[in-house]
């Protein structure tokens, strides 16, 4: 039995479907990230899980209990919002202890818990400060501590890092992961930053227009996206049709457009780093001419033409190619091909019962 | 939760019922004492008011032109003032801010009685101009406040962008500022018009019975006199101020309907 089970959840808003029959299973202790473009329904999904809005159909089960119609304050679920939303009129300590106070926990117990949380987020001595006296990173940590003080079964994070500047973002990301591990929490996080998603997630769910189109571990979703849209979320890619049989190419690879890819069964989405470049011919290599190269730090982007279509690869190290060079581009098939013959698990990640 | 709803609806109806009673009275022919409803309906009140030579038409005209002028002047001079306070830093700024807010706090009775003699001396008393000027002291705080918050909310970034695109001050006003202040104009005109249109004391004192506005006609009816006529007069009063607000809103076209925001 999965820890969180979402079944055929739908939500309409002003007659428009914003969440369209989504199903999702999350195991205890997992860190699941929902990614997708803005407006795809990620935050709505979180709010449905938190109980802030009611679904029009479908159900949510947490730890064996059906919570679909339970209101937010009665669920063992806490949500940390995008812009931290600390209560401005009370101190850090009162913010962290807010949930416990609402539950009617005794004053000294709250105090102890607040101290524990403060040392967890390394803000000891700040208890009497007010939110506007804290830096952005500190506020976000207090917001997290405020949620964790309640020891929720499920922690929901809505773009927890987006309001922080890039340097803080890395620290905070590691910090969230560490806490997730130490407290053995089940966490669902929403982001539109794919690097963040790949970094943090045990599993990633890609959402588009209110549906989950792919739900898999990071490597899987990165190298073997089910559609161009998902591939696009995580960076550059090439669309090829390569009829393979037992590791041998049956005929030459064809470059496809997004539209053609939709109807093609043997389409593969090839990441630029799955292509390695050689100067001497190799078996099954694509022969192409370099169009241009762009230096972006640790690597170079090599754009080359193959059958008059443009493809993209990376070159690493100090190897330099010039426009017009004729080169051999080899595809690492093991990267981009699924376990063949095996029937795909259904998208929700729930075992068939 | 149910209790909440009942409570709120009760408050709500208490706010609304007086209107219904007022409307009933205005269409009453006879309403015997002790009865819950009029025994006979009619248009006596309306006929009295709508008679061509009644004082009502004239006072309505005076009221509309007075409050219209007050609104126009108040808004026009408040726009630069609001911008100056919102976007500039200058010596004596807090003093100016206090002065602008003070008329909301200080009762008009002190100002009106204090200035009355000098108005008489300089020929402003008993005149349209005098009443207009004294109304402005009451309405300006409201309109300036609205434009301060409009300009504060908009910030200086639009103006700066306009400058970098080489727009001169008129072009910036016409194509940038105008759109920013539209919601403020809607709220402002409604508020200022209302304050001026319902002003009794200052009009009475400074106008000295020569500038007769609608409130002056209505005033004696409140504690004595014909209830039917008083009700019709009151309705004319409310309708004309509603009418003005609708016209103002239509003219200015606040498409985003942000005007409510600026009531504070």
């Amino acid at each position: 039995m999965p820890y969180i089970q979402i079944q055929k959840l739908s939500k309409l808003y002003k007659g428009q479907v914003v969440i369209d029959h989504i199903s999702l299973c999350v195991n205890h202790g997992e860190f699941v990230v929902l990614v997708g473009p803005s407006g795809c329904g990620k935050t709505t999904t979180l709010k449905l899980l938190a109980g802030l809005i009611e679904p029009d159909s479908g159900s949510i089960t947490i730890d064996g209990q059906n919570v679909t119609n339970l209101s937010a304050e009665k669920r063992d679920v806490v949500m940390v919002f995008q812009d931290n939303l600390l209560f401005p009129h009370i101190t850090v300590a009162q913010n962290i202890g807010f949930g416990l106070k609402m539950k009617g926990v005794k004053e000294d117990k709250i105090k102890a818990k607040v101290q524990e949380m403060l040392s967890l987020i390394q803000l000891e001595g700040m208890e009497e400060r007010y939110p506007d006296q804290l830096s952005g990173g500190q506020r976000q940590r207090v917001a997290l501590a405020r949620a964790l003080a309640l020891e929720p079964k499920v922690l929901l994070l809505d773009e927890p890092l987006s309001s922080l500047d890039p340097a803080l973002r890395c620290d905070m990301r590691d910090f969230i992961l560490e806490i997730h591990k130490t407290l053995d929490m089940t966490t669902i996080c929403v982001t539109h930053d794919c690097e963040e998603a790949l970094h943090m997630a045990d599993k990633i769910a890609a959402m588009f227009e209110g549906s989950i189109v792919q739900y898999a571990v990071p490597q899987e979703i990165y190298y073997r996206p089910l559609s161009g849209k998902v591939a696009h979320l995580f960076g550059r890619y090439n669309i090829l049709e390569c009829p393979l049989f037992d590791g041998t190419l049956l005929q030459k690879c064809k470059v496809l457009t997004e539209a053609q890819a939709l109807t093609c069964e043997t389409v593969v989405y090839v990441r630029p780093e799955s292509i390695w470049i050689t100067k001497t011919p190799t078996k099954d290599a694509l022969i192409g001419k370099v169009l241009r190269t762009i230096f972006i730090g640790e690597k170079r982007i090599v754009c080359f033409s193959y059958n008059d279509k443009e493809l993209v690869a990376y070159s690493w190290g100090r190897q330099e190619y010039k426009a017009g060079d004729k080169l051999f581009f080899n595809i690492r098939w093991e990267d981009c091909l699924g376990k063949s013959g095996e029937e795909d698990e259904n998208i929700s990640g729930c075992a068939h019962i | 939760m149910r209790l909440n709803k009942i409570f709120s609806l009760t408050i709500f109806y208490l706010l609304i019922t007086p209107f219904i009673v007022l409307i009933l009275w205005s269409f009453t022919q006879t309403w015997p004492a002790g009865e819950l409803l009029p025994s006979e309906f009619g248009f006596r009140g309306w006929r009295y008011i709508l008679e061509p030579h009644s004082k009502v038409w004239h006072s309505l005209l005076v009221s509309l032109s007075l409050s219209g002028a007050v609104t126009l002047i108040s808004l026009i001079i408040s726009i630069p003032a609001g911008k100056a306070i919102a976007h500039y830093d200058f010596v004596g700024k807090s003093l100016v801010e206090t002065l602008i807010l003070a008329p909301i706090i200080v009762p008009p009775i002190a100002v009106g009685m204090g200035i009355h003699l000098s108005f008489i001396k300089y020929g402003l008393a008993d005149s349209f101009l005098g009443v207009l000027l004294i109304h402005l002291t009451v309405t300006l705080p409201y309109s300036v406040r609205i434009f301060i918050s409009v300009f504060k909310a908009a910030g200086t970034k639009w103006d700066e962008q306009g400058r970098t695109l080489k727009a001169n001050w008129w072009a910036r006003f016409r194509y940038i500022t105008w759109y920013l202040i539209k919601p403020g104009l809607v709220t402002g005109s409604a508020l200022v018009f209302n304050v001026s249109f319902s002003q009794y004391f200052l009009t009475f004192l400074i106008g000295g019975g020569k500038v007769i506005t609608l409130p002056l006609i209505l005033f004696p009816f409140i504690n004595s006199g014909d209830r039917v006529i008083a009700s019709s007069l009151s309705l004319i009063f409310i309708l004309s101020s509603l009418f003005f607000m609708i016209i103002a809103e239509k003219c200015i076209e606040d498409n985003q309907r942000q005007s409510e925001f600026y009531y504070l």
């Binding site: 938190a50 | 709120s8 002065l99 300006l140 101020s241």
Partner: protein, 293 residues
């Protein structure tokens, strides 16, 4: 170089402010100053040119003064308190409606657009001895004669006046508080809910403390208005005690011109009291509310 906005500009802001400052300076400040001079007995038209505090002494030692002061405070405190409580409650209810109810949204604002004297007329129709409520009570058999209905108009208890103010000010307070509350409800209210607070707890621990500044600034405007307002108590008040503004006015129009300085003294007292109260309010607000929203 072109001048930048927000720099310490020398003359431009003053130029922009000049029309407003001229009108307020000449007529508002001028009016107050002249009232002050006249309250000190400087009144050249009837030959009084010496400054004296005698009129202040006369007013303050008069038995009428304490009565008028008390009566003014009574009307203004009671009506402000009740309208604030009801207005806040209504704002909370409207902010909590899940769907914006256009009808309620429009209708509750109507009294704001109604002038005070029309409001007075409506309340007279409701609560006077010949009013609808008296008729209703009589029909139901609780009283047999209209004059058995308690007298609320022209009476010492001033209930009619207070009701008029409440009817006018509740929507005003609701309007001023509603926007702020709706904002808090939308953001911090949701946070509090996910942290396990009940709706009642959200109201008392989050919404109410955070909308205090808005509530106080709305009620101080209402307070200052009803303290200095003249029309309603003049029309519907008891002959004794009178409110301070009415007392001032009656002195002003008295044919005996030597009463004029008395009127000015009273209006100066009203002004000073109003300023003191507003100042107290802002000072306490600064102490109470140390955060920015």
């Amino acid at each position: 170089m072109r001048s930048l906005i927000l720099k310490k500009s020398t003359w431009l802001p003053y130029l922009m402010l000049s029309p407003v400052l001229f009108i307020l300076g000449a007529f508002f400040i001028g009016g107050i100053l002249l009232a002050f001079l006249q309250s000190l007995g400087y009144f050249p038209i009837i030959g009084l040119e010496k400054f004296t505090l005698i009129y202040y002494k006369e007013v303050i030692t008069s038995p009428d003064f304490m009565a008028a002061l008390g009566h003014s405070f009574y009307i203004c405190v009671v009506s402000t308190l009740i309208s604030t409580v009801i207005g806040v409650y209504l704002a909370y209810y409207i902010a909590g409606l899940s769907h914006k109810n256009k009808g309620i949204d429009f209708l509750y604002k109507i009294p704001i657009a109604v002038p005070h004297i029309v409001a007075a007329l409506m309340i007279v129709f409701m609560v006077s001895q010949g009013g609808i409520i008296a008729r209703l009570v009589m029909k139901m058999g609780f009283i047999s004669e209209p004059n058995q209905f308690p007298s609320l108009i022209y009476s010492k208890n001033a209930i009619g006046i207070i009701l008029i103010y409440i009817w006018k000010e509740v929507p005003f307070i609701t309007l001023m508080v509603y926007t702020v509350m709706a904002n808090i409800q939308k953001n911090l209210g949701e946070v509090a809910l996910t942290l396990g607070a009940s709706k009642r707890q959200v109201f008392y621990h989050v919404i109410l403390p955070l909308s205090t500044p808005a509530i106080m600034s709305a009620s101080v405007i209402v307070f200052a208005y009803s303290f200095g307002a003249f029309e309603i108590p003049y029309l519907l008040g008891a002959t004794y005690p009178r409110t301070l503004p009415v007392w001032a006015y009656l002195n002003y129009i008295s044919p005996d011109l030597t009463n004029r300085p008395i009127a000015m003294v009273i209006s100066m007292i009203i002004t000073v009291l109003a300023i003191i109260m507003v100042w107290l309010y802002t000072a306490s607000l600064k102490k109470l509310v140390r955060y920015k929203l």
